[in-house]
């Protein structure tokens, strides 16, 4: 029944009391055939699917994620080389071929995106780079979620002096030029192994990216904690921690999810930027940023070395942004009308 599912229905009661008297309170006509109502999430999902750009973004993100995860393995099974395979035995192979071109200059399916300077397959490298780029984006966002949400929620809920101290710390960290901070961190602790360098990159990006999240969540909690349901929960003897994590944080999830989705591309961009400068991912690991950095050196002669990683990254970032915007509209329908 439409009435049971429509969240505006209660407003209707306020506006039209004479209607309310007729069917208020018990609504016997539907009590028998009560259908399980739509949760807020299902509502949001429906709205998201109506947004064409967001659906496009979602599909592209899914395709790129699957391709990045499965791609390198598939290529290895089919053609027998990995992303870091350097055909050094055959000097004819160890050079940069244009897309769809074999060693003899003929058309070939072997390297759809061509090869890089050392003859490594560009497609495999882009896909493997995608793994790392997405990984960095998602993990760093999760870290920022974990720290930022907890930190912001605690500051917002307790308020007063605790809030003041906690948020001033955030302000201080905010005021540091964070790219420089990350560069300093990365160069100070420059690791010898590529994996170590990657871990450092996580730490560096993660340590600064939670700040905005903490502010967003604190703001949300500040406005939520004075609502009656929090007082009601406290009046039933629920403890502070439980109120924060069970009652308040779920209510902030809308904006948090939106911000998290939008911060994935942001972090990926930061990673690309750092890798481009040579501080991020080190060879033989690749990310879209480090591939672009290699490509840009040969832009005049081998443009495909820049074009493919660049376009893939741009497409992913676009899609994630569209998806984030779509999620914002879906989770917070009032915002669109403003």
């Amino acid at each position: 029944m439409a009435t049971g599912k429509n969240p505006d229905h209660d407003e209707l009661i306020h506006i039209a009391p004479e209607m309310a008297v007729a069917e208020a309170d018990v609504r016997p006509e539907e009590a028998g055939e009560f259908v399980r109502g739509t949760s807020l999430w299902r509502d949001a999902w429906r709205r998201l699917l109506k947004n064409k750009l967001a659906v496009f973004g979602l599909i592209v993100v899914i395709i790129i994620t699957i391709a990045s995860l499965a791609g390198p393995t598939v290529i290895k099974r089919t053609f027998g080389f990995t992303a870091d395979y350097i055909p050094s035995q055959d000097i004819r192979m160890a050079q940069s071929f244009p897309p769809f071109t074999g060693p003899d200059g003929e058309f070939s399916w072997l390297h759809p995106m061509g090869t890089d300077n050392l003859g490594r397959d560009q497609l495999a490298r882009v896909l493997q780079g995608g793994q790392i780029s997405l990984f960095v984006g998602i993990i760093a966002t999760l870290v920022s979620l974990l720290i930022g949400v907890t930190y912001g929620a605690i500051a917002g809920y307790f308020g007063g002096r605790i809030d003041n101290v906690m948020m001033r710390l955030v302000d201080v960290l905010y005021s540091l030029p964070y790219v420089i901070l990350v560069i300093v961190l990365l160069s100070m602790f420059r690791s010898q192994t590529p994996r170590g360098q990657l871990t450092l990159l996580f730490v560096a990006i993660g340590s600064v990216s939670w700040l905005t999240m903490a502010r967003i969540v604190r703001g949300q909690i500040l406005s939520l904690k004075n609502q009656e349901f929090v007082l009601a929960a406290r009046a039933t003897g629920v403890s502070g921690g439980r109120i924060i994590f069970r009652h308040l944080i779920p209510n902030t999830l809308g904006p948090v999810i939106v911000y998290a989705t939008l911060s994935i591309p942001q972090i990926m961009l930061t990673e690309a930027f750092l890798s481009f400068l040579g501080f991020g991912v080190q060879a033989p690991l690749s990310s879209w940023g480090s591939l672009a950095a290699e490509g840009v050196q040969n832009i005049g002669i081998f443009p495909w070395q820049l074009i493919f990683p660049g376009v893939t990254m741009a497409l992913t970032l676009f899609s994630l942004n569209f998806l984030g915007d779509g999620l914002r509209d879906a989770l917070d329908p009032q915002m669109r009308t403003v």
């Binding site: 049971g4 599912k5 209660d10 009661i13 109502g37 807020l40 009656e228 349901f229 007082l231 069970r246």
Partner: protein
């Protein structure tokens, strides 16, 4: 472990102040009252008279800062709640003293299923397992008259109407069989027809469980049908305190008289409704003298200068007025 005189709750000289930029707001200023087991006490007053703060003070939920309980005792079952550590008071909230709030639209968590919110209570206080708590939740929903409780329990609050949500709140409040139920304007946000249903429900459940009730309201009609005793509050003070029938038939305070006159009479001809002139005072800047003096219709010079005495008019009847005896006599009472 009931106290000797059968008092479940005894509030003595409670003062709750709010430290605001505008100065010290004396929201509750020296309130004392008792509540016997099984009794219903009504607290009446205009908005801002300190009704809600009184009750939030009882379970120590006054927002601090800016609010602070300056002094007083809240003796519940022989324990001073104001002295308890916060862990202990949390075990009392919901378990032995439960509260229902004014606006059922906002007092349920919009992100939690109804069943979940009910289960939280008994899991917390009665140590129920999930399954036990769920069954108990369904039972409570049936008790408060929600049809088809088993299916509806898994709905979200936005799928319920206002009256239904207030029923859920009552189910929640009563699920641990508290000894005291504080209902803070439980029907203010509801339609008149639903109001009657909800009040009837509270009354029935009270009779069945023997719970004592404090009913906060600004609706004198509600008080008349529901309570044994009434406290009339104004500017953080008790202006009059009497058994319900006595208060309605023989009010001993000009303010109570004004309130009673302000109740619209549906049988009367269409005409101007009576209202007490003026506005409630700013409790941050009270002048010496009676806080009601500027609005009172039988004000005299002394009212502006001296704070009125709390006069005992009868065994159980007190009034805060310089002319309490005269007013009481005017209403037909014989001062003791």
């Amino acid at each position: 472990m009931s106290s000797v005189d059968g008092n479940l709750l005894e509030v003595k000289n409670l003062r709750t102040y709010f430290d605001t930029e505008d100065g010290m707001v004396k929201a509750v200023d020296g309130i004392s009252f008792q509540l016997k087991r099984g009794e219903t006490l009504g607290i009446v007053g205009e908005s801002g008279s300190g009704k809600s703060v009184t009750n939030l003070s009882i379970i120590r939920l006054v927002p601090d800062p800016p609010g602070k309980i300056i002094s007083g005792e809240v003796i519940f079952n022989n324990t001073d709640l104001l002295m308890l550590p916060s862990e202990a008071i949390r075990k009392i909230r919901g378990r032995r003293i439960a509260m229902i709030f004014q606006d059922p639209m906002t007092s349920l968590n919009p992100f939690m299923k109804i069943s979940r919110q009910l289960m939280e209570m008994t899991e917390l206080h009665l140590g129920h397992t999930k399954a036990q708590a769920y069954d108990h939740a369904i039972k409570m929903l049936e008790t408060v008259g929600i049809p088809d409780a088993r299916t509806r329990a898994d709905s979200y609050p936005h799928e319920f109407s206002g009256g239904m949500r207030q029923r859920v709140m009552i189910a929640m409040a009563l699920s641990c069989e508290p000894e005291l139920l504080i209902a803070d304007e439980p029907t203010t946000a509801l339609d008149v027809t639903i109001q009657a249903q909800i009040l009837e429900l509270i009354k029935t459940l009270k009779r069945e469980t023997g719970t004592s009730v404090i009913l906060i309201t600004h609706d004198l009609g509600v008080v008349a049908g529901m309570t044994d005793h009434v406290i009339v509050m104004y500017a953080g003070k008790i202006f009059e305190q009497a058994p319900t029938t006595e208060l309605f038939s023989k009010p001993g305070n000009p303010y109570t008289k004004g309130l009673l006159r302000s109740v619209p009479d549906p049988t009367a001809e269409q005409g101007k409704l009576y209202q007490i002139p003026g506005l409630p005072p700013d409790v941050a800047h009270l002048k010496p003298g009676c806080p009601f003096a500027p609005r009172c219709d039988r004000v005299e010079e002394i009212c502006h200068k001296e704070f009125p005495p709390f006069v005992q008019l009868n065994a159980d009847h007190y009034s805060l007025c310089h002319f309490a005896r005269e007013v009481y006599a005017d209403s037909g009472g014989t001062p003791a």
